[in-house]
């Protein structure tokens, strides 16, 4: 795989395409965060402090989680966090590190409007992920288990070459990273459209963009991470990956968070009941299709299509409950 972009004059030190693209993704996210801060009339100074703090926290959290899942890749935990240049990062850890810093900033009152910040970070993060994920084109990672023999598919977005380090042969594998990038890009566009619509209608939905990002990103990753041949797994099991578990956990927590106000204000109505059924049923289908695709690897089109349908069902259930909760005035009984 081609990786060096150019050599620096004088030292001859190489600069890699992967690092360039990753830096551009981070830069795009930072620019957008600051732009939205300004557009939302929020104080910029805390964001300027947040960027390096969240940057450091997310790197270390991402590395720590990667070490936990792949301890054999490092000599020790100390070695793993001591040299960030060598080794991998877990994006779940990166997101968790960023959120932790946001909560810390809120706790010490450096940030007063946390929902607004999270909304801005959601848009910035999705743009950064969309651009940054493409850096995997220059490696062997973030590709799928499916190998395509048809030459017509030997190009993006369908497949990317992965060089076998033993035989030296190139295998054209499903370009999981490209689909992850496109999914993040679609989430970014959706969030920006929501912003424009809210601005036009003079509506407010504090935290709404963040929840939407979390829901869509988590659910899309459940499917896309399943395609990968180098997914991260927890130490206790090698069946479902870390991203899938985190996605499921995020979705369940969100459903719980959205359902609590509904239940408190008068109990579950028929609509909410249907939504919970859609949610549970959707995840039931997803779980079965994950088992199915692991047993019937060649039937991936069928399996992932049904998995996508299950995830869509879960999303519809989840988002409808949120809308129900939002529409309830305080103290009013639940709809349906």
């Amino acid at each position: 795989m081609e990786r060096i972009a150019f050599l620096l004059a004088g030292t001859g030190r190489p600069v890699f395409w992967r690092d360039i693209i990753l830096c551009m993704g981070v830069a795009a996210a930072v620019f957008l965060l600051l732009a939205l801060r300004l557009a939302d009339r929020q104080p910029v100074f805390p964001a300027l402090l947040l960027i390096p703090a969240a940057g450091a926290a997310s790197l270390y959290a991402g590395r720590a989680l990667h070490w936990y899942c792949c301890p054999e890749s490092y000599g020790s935990f100390r070695a793993a966090v001591g040299d960030l240049a060598a080794g991998g990062l877990s994006l779940i850890g990166v997101i968790a590190g960023t959120l932790a810093v946001c909560l810390l900033f809120r706790a010490v009152r450096l940030i007063r409007d946390l929902p607004a910040l999270l909304d801005e970070l959601a848009a910035a993060g999705s743009l950064g992920i969309a651009a940054g994920r493409m850096c995997e084109l220059f490696g062997n990672g973030d590709r799928g288990k499916m190998i395509f023999s048809r030459a017509a598919l030997h190009r993006l977005p369908f497949a990317a070459a992965a060089v076998n380090p033993v035989s030296g042969e190139a295998e054209w594998r499903f370009a999981s990273f490209c689909f992850q990038s496109m999914a993040a890009g679609a989430i970014f566009l959706l969030l920006m459209l929501r912003r424009l619509r809210r601005a036009a209608r003079r509506e407010e939905d504090p935290g709404g963009d963040f929840w939407l990002f979390l829901a869509l990103y988590s659910l899309s990753e459940i499917l896309l991470d399943s395609t990968r041949y180098d997914a991260l797994f927890l130490r206790s099991n090698g069946f479902v990956s870390l991203e899938q578990i985190a996605g499921l956990a995020a979705a369940v927590l969100m459903m719980a968070a959205f359902s609590v106000p509904v239940l408190r204000r008068g109990g579950a109505g028929r609509l909410c009941g249907a939504c919970w059924t859609l949610f549970a049923g959707g995840f039931g289908l997803v779980g079965y299709m994950e088992y199915y695709v692991q047993r019937h690897g060649e039937a991936y089109v069928f399996a992932y299509s049904l998995m996508a349908a299950g995830l869509l069902s879960a999303f519809i259930g989840l988002w409808t409950v949120r809308r129900c909760a939002r529409r309830l005035p305080a103290g009013a009984p639940a709809e349906g």
């Binding site: 557009a39 054999e72 997914a231 060649e298």
Partner: protein
């Protein structure tokens, strides 16, 4: 004041727009660069020539036989082992002749590979692989001259009428000396891609097996740098076989073939040596061809075997390996067998995906078998699925969890050594065991099924493999030295395929050692890169590792 406030608002909005535009442009540029990067040439500023200078320093140091200076140009301080000399006299002389004749030429232009650069280099070195005929001619001429000069035939011939061995070997020594003195007729130019990487502030050559192959004129293959003495040992094998060829019919010098322990892949098997048929009797020719290899072995397979009717039998036979796969119904269960006899224990190998315990990637067993050029392969213990068990790979201890699973160690003699769970109480004990027993790799699944010809199934609960349920089984057996049996048993509705039942059948066949591996959909028996057994759900499952048996015959004969 309102004026200032308005201006600030305008500036703020303008800045927001600018940053938004910068964000979108940066993201779009990143994506576009990805799509166009391959079309962009590598930019190397004028005056930066360090990568090529390293190559020049390396090869010119080799020409001077200044190995210290040469190895200083290699990344991770590796040695190619070129300074060691084979123990055998003939090997040593040719080796030194090899070293004295090195030359090189660096081509223009860099390429890209992995995280580094590449450059084409043409290496000139003697290739003695075709020198067998030349040596034989010299020896024959020398012996004929001796014959003519002799007064009595018994001075030159022995009781059987052949030339006396000491005369033959003396003539050979002269022939080797003549060849070593002037190897010009054997010089060969070999084009090689040299890899460079940037580490610790400087460019270094990446030591690879192909470098050693080029410098030895193709005599040494698959020897990974960094293993002391491996290149010289491998060269010694090459010269032994060259001498064997040269002295054929005069003196018997058995050919020796083995594989370097650290070789990532084996030589490709000879495709014409594979065979298949629905009739067991058709394996008779392959058995006869492998008679020397099979001498003294008690095969389970015979051309009269009662295999499953209509089912294809597959086999492979060359000088260094014989393997035959067949299917049989035993005790209402369908057994897939692969019997393997190898000439040298180094042909019994293990492969973890990407040849690294650190790799988290998964591949189909047939893909891994193809990568390493396996003749026959069996799915392994799926070592990366769970963090249990002891893992030794290429003599290095990768994991030392010794409480939960029985371990099957494999030593340099190719013998299976069983150790029960909990027997090795600490990492130090594991390391000591590895050292004391010359362990090369290990398997961590189990349980141990048969040991010393008797059932060794555990009495209590076993944490993996569902031993008491009906489940597709995968078993590794050792019958004798360098003689193995690979087994898969399909899950059956007619008879519960518990480990106990499978053990009983194997005991009835006289198997003295057997160890269970990961079954279920994972169980895959492979020959010539194709599945032999029917896997569960009719589809291979990706996993992390295989065991395999390879030919030791160098590619090309």
């Amino acid at each position: 004041m309102p004026d200032l406030k308005n201006r600030l608002i305008v500036i703020r909005d303008a800045l927001a727009s600018l940053l938004l535009a910068a964000a979108l442009v940066t993201a779009a540029a990143a994506v576009l660069l990805c799509l166009r990067a391959r079309a962009l040439p590598l930019y190397i500023p004028a005056g930066v020539d360090e990568p090529a200078a390293v190559i020049d320093r390396f090869f010119s140091a080799l020409r001077r036989e200044d190995f210290e200076a040469a190895y200083a140009c290699l990344s991770d301080g590796a040695s190619l082992g070129l300074e060691s000399v084979p123990e055998d006299g003939a090997g040593a002389r040719l080796w030194l002749a090899q070293r004295g004749a090195w030359d090189y030429e660096i081509a223009d232009g860099y390429g890209l590979s992995g995280t580094g650069l590449t450059r084409r280099v043409t290496v000139t070195a003697p290739d003695f692989s075709g020198a067998g005929a030349q040596l034989r001619e010299y020896v024959q001429a020398r012996l004929e001259a001796e014959m003519e000069a002799a007064v009595f035939g018994s001075e030159v011939l022995d009781e059987s009428g052949g030339y006396r061995e000491e005369l033959v070997m003396a003539a050979l020594d002269e022939a080797i000396d003549a060849l070593a003195a002037d190897p010009s007729a054997c010089l060969r130019r070999l084009s090689l891609t040299v890899h460079l990487e940037y580490a610790n502030g400087e460019w270094k050559l990446v030591p690879r097996a192909s470098l050693i192959t080029a410098l030895t004129g193709g005599a040494v293959r698959g020897v990974d740098p960094g293993t002391p003495g491996a290149a010289a040992e491998s060269y010694g094998m090459f010269v032994n076989n060259l001498v064997s060829e040269a002295l054929e019919g005069l003196v018997v010098v058995p050919k020796v073939y083995w594989l370097p322990e650290t070789a990532a892949a084996a030589p490709k098997p000879v495709q014409t040596a594979f065979g298949s048929s629905k009739k067991a009797a058709d394996t008779a020719a392959a058995l006869e061809q492998s008679a020397a290899l099979l001498a003294g072995k008690h095969l389970l397979w015979s051309p009269d075997a009662a295999t499953e009717p209509g089912r294809t039998i597959k086999w492979y036979a060359d000088e260094t390996i014989f393997t035959v796969c067949w299917r049989e119904k035993l005790d209402l269960m369908t057994f897939n067998f692969c019997e393997v006899v190898i000439g040298h224990p180094s042909q019994f190998r293990r492969y973890i995906a990407e040849n690294s315990f650190q790799s988290g990637r998964r591949f189909k067993p047939t893909q891994m078998a193809r990568t390493v050029n396996a003749v026959a392969a069996l799915s392994g213990d799926f070592i990366k699925y769970r963090r249990l068990g002891i893992c030794v790979y290429q003599r290095a201890l990768c994991r030392a969890e010794s409480k939960k699973l029985d371990t099957c160690f494999v030593n340099a003699a190719g013998d299976l050594l069983f150790v029960r769970r909990g027997a090795l109480k600490s990492e130090e004990a594991v390391r000591q065991y590895i050292e004391d027993n010359d362990v090369v790799f290990s398997l961590a699944f189990g349980p141990i099924m048969i040991e010393n010809g008797a059932s060794a199934l555990p009495k209590g609960r076993y944490p993996v493999g569902q031993p008491n349920e009906s489940y597709t089984r995968c078993v590794l057996c050792q019958l004798e030295e360098c003689h193995y049996l690979l087994v898969t048993v399909n899950v059956s509705s007619a008879r519960a395929t518990t480990l106990a039942r499978v053990t009983k059948v194997l005991l009835g066949m006289g198997v003295p050692k057997a160890y269970a591996l990961d079954g279920g959909q994972t169980a895959s028996l492979i020959i010539n890169n194709e599945l032999f057994n029917t896997v569960d759900f009719n589809q291979e499952r990706t996993m992390s590792d295989i065991l395999y048996f390879a030919t030791a015959l160098p590619e090309g004969g």
